[in-house]
Structure formats: structure tokens, C-alpha cells
Amino acid sequence: MKRIFFLLRKDFIRKWKNPQVIIGFMLIPLVFTFIMGAVFGRQAEVSLPPIKILIVDNDQSLLSQLLLGALTQGEFQKKITLVKLKEEKEGRRLINKGQATALLIIPQGFAQSVWEEKPTQLILVKNPAEQFLPQIAEEITDTITLLLSGAVTIFSPELQTIRTLIESNSSRQNTLDDKAVADISIRIKGKFEKFGDYVFPPILWVKQETIELPGKKEAPQLSFHGYILPAMAILFLLFVCNTVIEDTLREKEKMTLFRLLISPLKMEEFVWSKILTAIIIGITVTAFLLLLGTLFFAINWGNFWMVAVLVITLNIACGGFISVFYSFVKTERQAGAVLSTVILVMSLLGGSMVPVDIFPQFLRPISRFTLNYWGIEAFHRIMFGRSWADLAPIFIAFTLGGFALAAIGSFFLKKNLVKGYAG
């Protein structure tokens, strides 16, 4: 045990004196996050596919139709595809199958409440599998709610027309002729555009802070930076772990392993010391990244202890994962080639480079087999204020999986290293 301590100390001093590579791996995600934030943060909607929202209109009123009409106007039109459904049950079934971003339910009596200026409520069911788009859907409905609460005053002339229409058609209240509805919709749209600058956030994420709905409780917000940084961080953490564990082969080439082999040191101690070094350096790097993320991008990571546990378990998983590949690579160059490919492909599939939300359906299940996916997912869950129970499975899987992989990795790596030497 004591010898492991000396090994760790030695490697930490070495990395401390030669920190360029690791600092590089730490800075790249920050720079990336900054650039991506600068480029896409302003026009992220361009890069996102239309959001598919399922609609169940239980009210079937004129007003609900107007609301839906509004959702297909102007700015919204670019972002939203509406699919009207008859039944809430059908909507929930589709959402659970992950076939839409959100389900918007307009409750019965919705119009009545609005007319009477009573508090109104729309129900939005989000797709649990998507991390990003439901936020937008939520914001859109928030905006609509805001619009509606202001609508009575802003649109009072139109409301008058609507009333007249309703009264003249009172026998068939729910089936206003299309032309009339379209006409009003266009007038409302005109108003939207006029007031657009005030009520529409041209960029949903940026301006949404100015929208405050009465009674809406403050939940941790997922900022664009907060999405990108953990995703990028995990990708580069894997590279950090790799440079540390790669040292085993370097020590073989540089003959220091030869010296260690003739010392009383056990090979297990050597191999585990490297994996531990990788994990500890990984934890340090992650901690720094999160801190810098808060300083530069004002990211609110959420519950401190959850983040701490995530950082530790995530790095155990990364260290274990990387070590497995050293069971068979023979040289540093081979390791570089194999591991870079593995890390990049896994990170791409796992959403470190492109949000999983915009993957085609057939790729999404694959994402779930990546470390990146679950790491990003865990960061988001914490940011959204989810409970320990929601996070525990990820933490446990990371820890157990990480150590299991490290056990396999260390066993074969040990054999791999003493190859060419007598046992």
C-alpha cells in the first residue's frame, strides 16, 4: 500500500512538472464551450429540428383554436410542428414512446376561464428521454401563457369580434367557419408582430429571463453553456485518463518499468497506481472545469454534493473504461490510435459533440450505451434539481462499472506489460 503512495506521488509530481497536455485537455472544452455559445447560443433554433408538439384540445373552443393558430404563426412556425390528437391517452402513449418532444393539453373550460380572467392552466407533458427540446417547448408554452394573460387587454378589439362571432353562431359554438378564424388569426398575428419585440423572445434562451410568469417557481435553468460544457468535458476527461494510463507503456519503453520489475514492487501495485492517478487527476480537472464554467459562463451546476459524487463516480468510470483498452494495445502509438478512435466515436454517439436530441431515432438507443450519455444526463438531472433517487442509479453504475472495468483492465494490462519479461 505504501508503495502505491510513492508511485502516486511520483506520477503527480511528474504531471505537475509537465502539465501542458492536461491543461490543454482542460482548456479545449472551455474554449469550445465559449465558441459554441457564441456561435449557436444566438441562433440555436436554426440548428435545431422543428419541435414536434402533440396537442389534445379538450376545450375545443374558439379560443383554444386561436391559441393553436398562434402556435403556427411567425416565429413559432419555424420551431414547431403541431400534431392534433383526439385523446389524451393517445398523446401520453406517444410521448412515452418518445415520438414527440411534448404533449400540450388544453383542459376543458379553458376558454371560459380566460374570458372570466380567471387563472388558467395548460398542461405540458415533456418527453423524459429528451434533454434539450422539452425546455424549449416549456418556454414556448410559458410565452403563450404570458400572451394569453395579456391577451385580454392587448386584443380587446379582436375579442369583441370574437364575441360577436360567438354570439351570432351560438348554436354551433365550437365550429366557427374557417374563414372567420383565419381572419382573426391573421389579425392576431399582425399584433404579435407589432408587439413581438416585447412579448416574443427573438432568441428563446437569451430573452427568456425577461419573461416572468406570476407564481412560476424558480427552477435551475439549463443554459446553453451548461449543456455544452459537461458534454465536452467528458470527452476530454477520457483523453486525460488516457494520457495517464498510457504512461504504463511509456514506462516500459523508457525502461523504468524494468527497474520497477526488479524492485520488490508488485505489478498490480504499479497498474492500479496508474488507474488511480488517472481517476484523481480526472477529478481535479473536472472540478476545475466546473469551477471555471461557473466563473466564465455563470453556469449553475445545481446541488453541490450531487455534483461532487457525480464528478468522482464519473471519473472512476472513465478510468476503468480507458484501462480496459490497455489490455491489448502494445505500444504508445497503437494506444494513441485505438483510444482516440474509441473516445471520439463514443463521444459522438454519446452526445458530447452533438446533442443526442437531434440524432435520428435509430441512433438514440445506441447513445445509451455510452459513458458520455449518462454523464451528460446526470449533469442535467442535477441542474434540473432532480432527486438523489433519480441520480443514484447512474452513480452506482459508474462506480461499479468503473471498478469492474478497471479490474479487468488492470489484470490484462499487467500481463501485457510483463510480456517479454519473465513472470
Partner: protein, 308 residues
């Protein structure tokens, strides 16, 4: 004490070590002298437990190495032919690490590091990263790492390559002190002078075999009380061979184009030989006659010249 019995190791077709036996007593410096590829490093690696011999047995004191490798490691110190340490760490950090791994602790370790650094003239540079050291300075660190835990048996694999005379003497001193303290030392080299100066006994090795061994005096008697004549000139192998038929074959220690070494019963036999050379139209530029040395023994046994 270190004893090798009928040790053999082949790499495919190559017999790297061929039935080697010898014993080194405690306090003795035993030199393994051989050209490149003789099998010196292979022997060291087998003793260190890093290579499995095909055949043979190894004892360190009363412990049989192949049977009890863990106990062997505790007795052993090895200075590999390659420099093996962490370049980015300072000398002090390296020595502290390697000493700790060997189980040397606290003040004893620090004192020893100080002692050896001072002894080898590196104390002033102790805090510099080793990558900034010269080759010779690195060699010294490479040596000290093997000494820190004061092993019972010390294996030194060509520890003085590329070192200037002053530093070399310095290193000899350190090694001799270790021997005086009772360490068993196996020292490989392809440097004749080094073997002569440093080693109590020498084994001459070539192509995996030990050709002769003993003290310097004993080895010299192999050539006998002869004069060693070194001739240089312009002659081809065939022409020279024609001339040399007049001599007994064992008198020719080495023959190369333009270079000839002879072991003569008496230097008086040289003039008639030169006469023959002139008759054949061969030119000789330079003649020197020396007493038998390790070099002539080496030539006699291997027919090879050793160059630094």
C-alpha cells in the same frame, strides 16, 4: 555470493548464453568482458529474474533465484545498461522515489542520497530535472539508483559508457567501496582497461560462451611469456597469410587487412618475418612490441578486437 550453473538462453536460432557457469564471492568485483552481442545483458537479465533461462540454476547467497524470485529481489541491485529513471523529475526526486520503492526510509534514505550525490559530484545539481543533465551525469544517477538500498548482490551492466576519465574514476571508487563493504558485484564491460583496472577477476565472453576466466595474471598466462607484436602496413589478407605459413597458427592473434597482431616466443623472430614481407613486396609502416595484456589474451581467445 552469486553462483551461476550451466546457464543457457536461446532466442530462436541465436544462442545468446551458452552453458555459462561462474561464481562471484562476496566483496569481489567480477568482470564479464565481451564484445557487443556476447550475451552479457542476457546473463544480467536472467539473474535479475526478468528472463527465464532455458537451462541452469542461479544462487544468490543461499537462495536459489529461480525458485524464490521474491526473496532474490530483496538481495539484488541492478544498474541496467539503459538509463532508467524519470527525466522530468529532479535527481533528488528520482532517488527518493527509487529508494522508497526499495523500502529505504526517512532519514537513512535522505542521508544516503546526500552521500552518493556528493560522492559523484552532483549535489549542486540535485534539484534540476534530470533531462537537463549531461549524458555522464545521467549515468551517475543511473548507478546511484542501484546502490541506494545497499544490495547484497549488485549487477552493473556497462555502467560507464560515455563517461569521461575523471567521472569514471569517481564511479570506480563508489563501486570499490561497495565491494569493500561486502557486496558481490557482477560488472559487465567491453572495455579492456576497465576490466584490468577495476575487476578482481574477469571472464572473457564471446557468442554466449565463457572462453576463459581468472585474475588478470592468470588470464595473461594463457598467452604465455611472449612478445606481442603489432604490425600495420599495406597488405591484403591472402598475401599476408602466405607469409604467415612459416609461423605456428597460434602465434597469429589477429589478422585483418593492413593490421596484424602476433604473439612471438621472442622478438628476435620478428626480423626474418619482416624480411619475408619485403620479399613479397608488402609494406609495413609501424611496428610496436608490447608485453602480453588482457587485450592480447582477448585477441588470442576471440580473434576480435575490442573497441570503445
Amino acid at each position: 555470493m552469486l553462483r551461476l550453473e550451466n546457464l543457457s538462453k536461446s532466442f530462436g536460432e541465436i544462442k545468446a548464453v551458452d552453458n555459462v557457469s561462474f561464481q562471484v564471492e562476496s566483496g569481489e568485483i567480477f568482470g564479464l568482458l565481451g564484445p557487443n552481442g556476447a550475451g552479457k545483458t542476457t546473463i544480467i537479465q536472467m539473474v535479475a529474474g526478468l528472463l527465464k533461462p532455458d537451462n541452469g540454476r542461479i544462487w544468490l547467497d543461499s537462495i536459489e533465484a529461480l525458485v524464490n524470485p521474491e526473496a532474490t529481489k530483496k538481495l539484488l541491485g541492478v544498474v541496467p545498461q539503459e538509463m532508467a529513471f524519470y527525466e522530468e523529475l529532479s535527481a533528488w526526486e528520482n532517488l527518493f522515489f527509487w529508494g522508497s520503492i526499495q523500502g529505504v526510509k526517512g532519514k537513512i534514505l535522505k542521508d544516503r542520497i546526500h552521500f552518493y550525490l556528493e560522492k559523484t559530484g552532483l549535489l549542486a545539481r540535485a534539484k534540476d530535472p534530470i533531462k537537463k543533465y549531461s549524458g555522464g551525469m545521467k549515468r551517475r544517477i543511473n548507478l546511484i539508483i542501484g546502490l541506494l538500498h545497499q544490495p547484497r548482490v549488485l549487477l552493473l551492466d556497462e555502467p560507464t559508457i560515455g563517461i569521461d576519465v575523471q567521472t569514471r574514476l569517481n564511479i570506480y571508487e563508489v563501486i570499490k567501496e561497495a565491494a569493500q563493504a561486502g557486496t558481490t558485484i557482477l560488472y559487465t564491460t567491453h572495455n579492456l582497461k576497465e576490466a584490468e583496472e577495476l575487476c578482481d577477476r574477469i571472464a572473457i565472453m564471446d557468442e554466449g560462451k565463457i572462453l576463459a576466466s581468472g585474475t588478470l595474471k592468470e588470464l595473461i598466462t594463457i598467452v604465455g611469456k611472449k612478445d606481442i607484436a603489432y604490425l600495420q602496413g599495406e597488405f591484403s589478407l591472402e598475401k599476408a597469410q602466405e607469409v604467415l605459413t612459416s609461423l605456428p597458427p597460434e602465434a597469429v592473434l589477429s589478422l585483418q587487412e593492413g593490421k596484424l597482431v602476433l604473439a612471438l616466443e621472442a622478438s628476435s623472430s620478428l626480423p626474418p618475418l619482416l624480411e619475408l614481407f619485403f620479399q613479397k613486396g608488402l609494406t609495413i609502416h609501424d611496428i610496436s612490441i608490447k608485453e602480453p595484456s588482457l587485450e592480447s589474451v582477448f585477441l588470442h581467445l576471440t580473434g576480435k578486437e575490442l573497441r570503445e
